[in-house]
């Protein structure tokens, strides 16, 4: 030091640590800053918890809406969509006419195969599969019509061509109505597409909210530590050095809030699981409620942490510049 070695001072000028030392102490500073910024957050527990909860609720809202849509999608995804058309014949059609109809439809160039379900077969199937099976016995006459299940050529998959075929069938005098699964499945898909878009928009909004909340928290923190920032600048701190603790604060806020959000969503889903299962059993289904899987959880945590750092970064850019011009 100065006292011990009077001559060396002048020769050495400012003592610069070696690269190796700088690198190691750089890592040390990072680790130290990581935990000291966490420690600083917990020093004001009430404010910290409130900010964290606001962030967690924002994230939980968008995540649970996402899960809702995902579950709905999964539920409807079990339905296999095909382009087959059910042609319901009029009740009074005689079996011989039914056979003729079948022949006629089979000759259509757009049709691959036709399967006949007689009223008797339909009744038997209905009895076997439906809870209302016994109701059929109470009726004197079989109320079910003959159905021709038409499988169009696989080339016919667009809705327009399918609709044309359906209209063609419906114009036949013996046909009561013709329906395709694809119609309601495509409607369902359209609804899901809308819901997915809504999820995206909501996530964007909540993401913005998270960014703003974190940015504002960092701004207040920066105002609080105004003096400290000025002093560190005066003793030779680079912008990176000054930014670092604030970026870590942003990271912690995003990271901890996303973990809290995960807990909130999981508790929600656990709360819903039992009634959903009961509901599913009513429809003799075996629907399992989907929770956030690993990929989604890590995406949530990663994205939230990134938003935290980004929010801090954006605020620091403008605020440090303002501090400098003072």
């Amino acid at each position: 030091m100065l006292k011990d070695n009077p001559r060396s001072q002048k020769q050495m000028g400012t003592h610069e640590p070696s690269f190796n030392t700088q690198f190691h102490s750089y890592l040390d500073v990072h680790a130290q800053t990581l935990f000291s910024s966490l420690g600083r957050l917990t020093r004001a527990p009430a404010a910290f918890m409130m900010t964290l909860l606001v962030l967690a609720i924002s994230m939980a809202l968008s995540s649970s809406f996402y899960l809702l849509v995902k579950n709905f999608q999964q539920l409807t995804g079990n339905v296999n969509a095909s382009n087959q058309i059910s042609v319901f014949l009029k009740l009074e059609t005689t079996p011989s006419n039914v056979a003729k109809m079948r022949e006629r439809i089979m000759l259509d160039t757009q049709v691959q195969s036709v399967q006949l379900i007689t009223p008797e077969q339909a009744a038997a199937e209905f009895k076997a599969n439906s809870v209302f099976g016994e109701a059929l016995d109470a009726l004197q006459k079989n109320p079910l019509p003959a159905v021709l299940v038409v499988l169009p050529k696989s080339s016919l998959e667009d809705e327009q061509g399918l609709n044309a075929l359906i209209t063609h069938f419906e114009q036949m005098p013996e046909v009561d109505s013709a329906k395709s699964d694809i119609q309601w499945i495509s409607r369902l898909r359209a609804i899901i597409a809308v819901a997915n878009r809504v999820v995206l928009l909501l996530s964007l909004l909540f993401g913005m909210a998270v960014l703003l909340i974190i940015g504002n928290t960092i701004r207040l923190e920066l105002q609080d530590r105004h003096q400290e920032v000025l002093i560190t600048q005066l003793v030779g701190a680079t912008h990176a050095f000054i930014r670092r603790p604030f970026l870590y604060t942003g990271f912690w806020l995003g990271f901890l809030a996303s973990i809290s959000a995960w807990f909130i969503v999981t508790v929600f889903m656990l709360f819903l699981r039992q009634p959903v299962q009961a509901l599913s059993q009513q429809y003799s289904g075996s629907f399992e409620l989907a929770f956030l899987n690993y990929t989604e959880t890590f995406t949530l945590i990663g994205f939230a942490s990134f938003l935290g750092v980004l929010g801090a970064w954006l605020v620091l850019g403008s605020q440090l510049h303002a501090l400098e011009s003072e």
């Binding site: 030091m1 006292k3 640590p17 030392t21 190691h24 102490s25 003096q227 003793v235 680079t238 912008h239």
Partner: protein, 218 residues
């Protein structure tokens, strides 16, 4: 070492804070900068510490011109100097040790190095054993000595002090100045802004006097 060449500083909306000021500070030299309030003492120090930029003229530290400095280079220039303030500018929520260690932490020294040098600096300013205290627990004179220890811990070649004895009684002031004299003996240049005439007269060092931004006497 520190060289001002025809330096002027004009603030937007204000008059000239400095007008055509030239001087050269050599290694191991102690120079007092004096003048009435508003004469431009603080402006000289701010320009020397690259807190502000000159409107005209050139400033050099070790032949490095401040005019061509990029913002990103400023921190590295500051590491060559130690700044001392009238209000000490210590971090109140950090211990004496952490306050003094700050410039070395920023420069990226190893912990062992830092601990060794901080203790040496504390010993130098006569505050050994107080490293775990917080600034509030210290007297004004002690806090200023912590500020001085922080300024010299990184072995700067230049010390800039703005009214370092402004809040201290004559006995403490003399002690602080004695410390500065010791630094000049190892080649450090010291520039002290003060209006404490009694102090200046006692020290018999080179004096630069400013009046309304002009250098009137050397």
């Amino acid at each position: 070492m520190l060289k001002f060449e025809h330096v002027s500083k004009r603030y937007a909306g204000g008059g000239d804070a400095l007008l055509d000021v030239s001087f050269h500070l050599h290694p191991g030299e102690m120079v007092f900068l004096t003048g009435h309030s508003g004469a431009g003492k603080s402006t000289v120090l701010k320009l020397a510490a690259v807190i502000e930029k000159s409107s005209h003229g050139r400033i050099f530290l070790d032949n490095q011109s401040f005019n061509d400095l990029k913002t990103s280079q400023v921190p590295y220039i500051r590491r060559k100097m130690g700044l001392i303030f009238q209000d000490y500018k210590l971090l109140q929520d950090r211990t004496v040790f952490d306050n003094i260690a700050l410039p070395m932490v920023i420069a990226g020294h190893s912990y062992q190095d830092i601990a060794k040098r901080v203790r040496a600096a504390l010993d130098k300013v006569g505050l050994s054993g107080k490293e775990q205290k917080y600034p509030q627990a210290l007297s004004g004179g002690e806090q200023q000595r912590v500020g001085i220890a922080r300024a010299v811990v990184n072995k700067p070649s230049l010390i800039l002090a703005d009214e370092p004895t402004g809040n201290l009684d004559p006995v403490l002031s003399a002690e602080i100045l004695h410390l500065f004299t010791q630094f000049t003996q190892v080649g450090v240049a010291v520039l002290i802004a003060t209006h404490d005439i009694a102090l200046i007269n006692r020290m018999e060092q080179r004096v630069i006097t400013l009046d309304h931004g002009r250098l009137i006497r050397e």
